[in-house]
Structure formats: C-alpha cells, structure tokens
Amino acid sequence: MPIERRPPAGITLRGITKRYGAATVLDGVSLDIRPGEFLTLVGPSGCGKSTLLRTIAGFEPQDEGEVAIGGRVVDALPPAARDVAMVFQSYALYPHMTVAGNIATPLEMRRLSLAERLPLLRLLSPRRPRIRREIMAEVEVVARQLDILKLLDRKPAQLSGGQRQRVALGRAMVRDPAAFLMDEPLSNLDARLRVQMRTELAELHQRLGATFVYVTHDQVEAMTMSDRVALMEAGRVLQLGTPAQLYDTPASIAVARFIGSPPINLLPATAQAHGVLQAEGLVLQADSTVPPGPVTLGIRPEALALAPEGAPGTLAVRLRRAENLGAEWLLHAETPAGVALTARVPATEPVPERFGFTVDPARLHLFGAEGQRIETRLGAMVAA
C-alpha cells in the first residue's frame, strides 16, 4: 500500500531574532527555503543553527520575525500543529516503547482521541481496532523502506546507533510532514556509518521529494548532501548558495575558511596603486581597482602547484610535512614570512627535496581588509 505523499512545502523565515538575556543568538535571519529542497544550516558550534531549527519547529519561539511553513504563518502554533517532523541528534526514541510503537506514536496521536489512547478506556472504542490496523500497516510500509522490518518488536536499547537512526527517520517519515528538520542526525554515528548514512539520507530526500532542513557543523556533510547551504556565524547567515557557489565564490574570509578540507590558505598581501598586488614573492595584477592597503589572498590547496625552487613569480616555501593520501600528496609548507600553506598535488611523481609553489591566478580569491570578497580577475605579473 503506497503512502500518498503531499507536495512538499517551503519555509520562509523573515528577520528571525532570538535573545537569551543579553546574548543575541539569532540576529535577523531571513531565509527562503524552497519546497522540496535539501537545505543545510552549517556553521561552528554556537552559531545559532540549532536554535534556528528549533525556532522553525516551535520549541524556541523567536523574539522578533516570522516563520511561515507552506505559506502559512505558524508563529502562534505549538510544535505539534506546525506539521514538521524532526530527527534529533540523540534520536530521542521513546525508550520503553518498541520500534513499532515509536513509529506509530505520531499517527496514534493524530488519529486516536485522548479517550482512545487511555488504558482500559480505549477498549470501549469500536473504531480503535480498525485505526490501529491502518496505522500498523503504514508503520510497516515505512519500516520496509528503511529496512527495519525485522526490528519492529525490539526496544531502542537493543538497537545499534545506525538502527536507532533509521527508527528516528521512520518516526519522522510516517507522518508525511510538510518538512523534515534534522539536528545533527549523523554526529553520534561512527565514521564509516556516517558516510553510509550520508548517501542514504541524500537518496531518501530524492525519493521522498520532501523539504529537508538539515543542521550540521560538518562542512563535508553540508557540501555532499545539500541542494543549498546556509553558512551561519554568530547568529547571522553569512552566505546562502549551492555547495559549488560557497566553494568557488565565498563571500567572505569566514566562509572561505569554513568550507573546504583541507582549509583554504590565506596569504596576507598588499594592494598598491593601479591594482598591483604583492604577497611574498608573488606579484599579481587585478583588472579592477583595488583600494590600496592590506588585503588577503585566498588560495585553495589545489590551486597551488609545484615549481622549481627560486623560479620567478613563485612562492618560496620550506616543506614541513608531506602526507600521502594515495592519489595525491598533501604538502604542508611554510613561507619565509611564516605563513602556513597547504598544497594538494597529484602523486604522479616523487616530491622533490626543495621546491616552490606556483599559483593559478584565475583560482585565487581576493578579500579586503574587512574580510569581504573583492570581485576581480587576477593575472600573474612576473616580477623583474
């Protein structure tokens, strides 16, 4: 019996502000989450991403702003009436209920009256057995999708972390909610299982076509699963975009720093007149005017390449450590000025004893003194 799914709902946040005493946890967050998209809220711990999710769910009412789910403003509604399902970090299964009981609970709460849920009194309801049968049939459909059919009679304590995760997903799916909210659901799993569940969650999202709002502090999860990523810091959204947009055109140093592993290299540079940039041995020409003063060059590890030592227009570096990743090397090096640089180079040839780095100017990011992105095209200018 296939469950008929409703069309997914979008979520609109307008100027959400939340304060705890003097601390502002959310500072005017506005987001437009499209129907059916997988949107990830990512950021360091304490950035407000979980609070934002709990605000959408209705657990932490905002001080200012408006939450609309599927075009309906839900600010006055309690969590249960908001028609969203949530998967918690600890899975939050009901410990004394079986797996089947856990998954059935949201449906029982909706379809059975209070009297029909009470012990003894419920035996008086003539329609209860029929409703229970329908609910259990739906529970089985969900359990089959998640491959936990054999576990239905177990208690949560008898399950592994991955199995509990699936039960928590099942409890969310069975409601066919307008949106799924997920609060770091993979962080309690071991590394191997986490990679596997990442794929499964992404597949589940495609199969259900539902709106997912996913919170994580792990940029890899954000980059691999999401349609769009909202990077948060200190209660604000720093940048909202596809994973590729965040990686290729970070709006600020903070974004550039957070996205990408190993992290981006940041090289202090000086902007001189006529858009000439100078950093250590590197001289670059910007195609637009850059206000003179200190700037920062962002260099992804893969934008660096090996060059003969001392060649003109290269960065002189001293190798500190080389990591063999099989297909490639991670070279941790240091410039004479003491800036750490990490390069990712193909492991086709042995790493020479001494070398320099060349930089692909087209793949450089330029950030101003305030850390904001400066949009410009850079070209190499070989120094005399």
Partner: protein, 276 residues
Amino acid sequence: MRRRGFLGALLSHAVLLAGAVLMAAPFLWMLLTSIRPPEEVFGTVFNLIPTRFAGFENYAEALTSSNLPRAMLNGVIVCVGILAVQLLFAIPSAYALAKLKFRGREWLFGLVLFGLCVPIQVPALPLYLGLAQAGLLDTFFALMAPFALTVFGMFLFRQFFRGYPEEVLDAARLDGMGEFEIVWRLATPAALPAIAAFSIFSIVAHWNDLYWPLIVVTSAERSVPSLAILAFRDTETGGNYGALMAAAAITTAPLILGFFAARRAFLRGITMTGPR
C-alpha cells in the same frame, strides 16, 4: 595474593554477617516468641528454641481475640489509598519542577525542600482540630488526608526526572503529546524504579505508623495494624506476649514479602540510575 584476597573476603563477609544478624535478631526473636507457650515467656528457665510448639494457639489467639484481620484490611485500604494519591500528585509536580520552565519554579522547589524538614508532629494539632471541626475524625479520610501530598516523593521524583533526556520530551511534543500525557506515558514508565522505591518507603511508613492513627481513630472499625497490636498489651487481654508477637509477625509479613518482590527495582530506585 590469592590467599590475602580470600582472607579479605572472609573478613568482609564476617562483618556483613554480624551486621545482618544484628538486623535480623529482633525479627527472629519475634518469630521465636510467637511460637513460645506463655509459661515459657515468663518462666525462669531460658531456652532459645521453645520446648513446646505453641504457634497454633498464639496465631489463633492473635487472629481471633482482637480485630486484627479487620485492622489489616483497613491498613491495606489506608496504605494503598495514601500511595495512590501521593503518586497522582507527586509525579506531575515533580515533572513540572524538573522539566517545565515557569516563574517561581525555584521558589516552589525551595518550599518542597523546606517541607522535607517539617515532621508530622508539627501540623498534627491544627490538622486534628480541622478534622474535628469538619466532623471527619475516625474516618479513612482522616487517616489518609495528611499524607496525600508528599514532599519526599516530589523531591525523589524530581531528581529522577531531571535526568530524562530533553530531546525525547521535544520529540513527544512534536508528535502531539501534551505535558500530562508526557508525564504518564513517558516519564512514569521511566521512573518505575523510583516509584517502586518510593512505594516501599511510603507503605512501610504508613503501615507501621502509630502516631497519627492513635490521634484520629477511636473505633475498632477504623483500627489499623499498629493499633491492633497495641490491643494485646491491654490489661484486659492480660499481656499475652506470644499472641502479641504472633500479631506483630502477621503484620510485618506483608511488608517483608513486598520488599522481596520489589527488591531489585527498589535498589535501582534508591541508587538513582535514571534512564540513559
């Protein structure tokens, strides 16, 4: 090394055994006296084991010469009634004190702690006067009412509920459960060990209580076990110690059986290992 371990075990068992004997001695004495013939109780020659088995007559005397069966039934009614009302109020109160955020919560919890310091003797007089005014003396209500609200229970359950994972409560709220349903469907099953421990404390205390029944009970119809035992010391029945101890053994038996039945849950409850 092994030998020392053996000696150490021997020593610790000897100490534990001595403690156990000390604890069990009054009960053994009670049981031995309850099967001792009267002439031996007051006789000059002392035998640990009675020379003549007088168990039947003593126990028969205990059950027939007073209103002990009726008092036992009353005791059950009073103890179960008190416990039921205590749980009915203490569990939701404790949940609210542990998990709900509202103004004055800390203050109310302070009152609970303060209540722990007040012995029954303090409000006994005003309670008595109030019950007398209302014409409720010598009723089950009078026996139970002062104990309906238990600050001890609130305190015990609150400590237990504090360990209940917050995310499970949020999940339940999202699934549509109200706070009362959360209390009874989620928090209570998790608190069963604490409830078992509290139940034993409560039942033992009120089954054995003599102070309050002595104040409010005047008729034999409302007598409770502790009062019934007292009857054997009356001059009218002539201080029959064999029958007295038989009555004591009969009234103690339900408590001991109850403890053994719930022993595991009781120990888990007082050592406070809440749900993970």
